[in-house]
């Protein structure tokens, strides 16, 4: 495994942990981070969030990462993994503009 891949995996783990903590803190979820499945749908079956929870989560992520999230592309909000994918993409885009 190259050091670049290792760094990418570590960063993904960090972002996933942060998103889980935001979920737990902002939505007062009675769950431990390791009980939340990264691939589980955020809405409906899975975490069963509603649109109120979603907006609170979006604002929490924006505050934490100092970014503005697109709220019209609902694919971003399918699961924690898709959210983290988007955050990684945003970081990569920022890095190429610096």
């Amino acid at each position: 495994m190259t050091s670049q891949m290792k760094l990418a995996i570590e960063r993904r783990s960090e972002l996933t942990a942060k998103v889980k903590n935001i979920l737990i803190d902002r939505l007062s979820l009675k769950a431990e981070p390791n009980e939340i499945t990264e691939d589980a749908p955020l809405f409906g079956m899975g975490l069963a969030l509603d649109s109120i929870d979603a907006l609170v989560l979006i604002v929490g992520i924006e505050d934490e990462f100092d970014i503005s999230l697109n709220t019209t592309d609902h694919q971003i909000y399918r699961s924690i993994n898709t959210l983290v994918d988007h955050l990684i993409g945003t970081e990569a885009a920022k890095a190429t503009h610096v």
């Binding site: 649109s51 979603a54 979006i58 924006e62 709220t71």
Partner: protein, 165 residues
Amino acid sequence: MPSAAPSARAVPAKQTLSHREIAELMPHSVPFLLVDRVIELEPGRRGKGIKNITVDDPLLLGHFPEQPVMPGVLIVEACGQLAAVVCAAERAHQPKLESSGGRRPLEILAMIERFKFLRIVTPGDQLILEAVIGKQFQNMTRIEVSARVGRNLIAEGTLLATRGS
């Protein structure tokens, strides 16, 4: 001198609203319409409004008989109503929905995310309300609101509202 060509620009949105104009936009009526006048308006974005507090306001009669104080929940409601006016003003020229029997959708308070009350409001006070429309997701909208009397901040908070019909 040649005459000026007629302007092709659209008529700008109104920047103030009288009580009558507010009542036309809102489903509420006296005594529960809590915005007397809108003094600044950017439809769909932000607004500033006035609510005058009077000793004979029926909403204050029992709160409290010896010392009338505007209930905090009504300050939240007034702020929420101003936000609803800001949203309704944006939709004022949109076609009415067939599915809702011709009625325009309402803004329904969905969550008081946080709210802080710093001072009491008594008869004679003029509340200056402010609402700034924030992030939206699906039908949910986040709104930052505040209420002042003069320069004093009375209350401020964050509300979530949804669009019902």
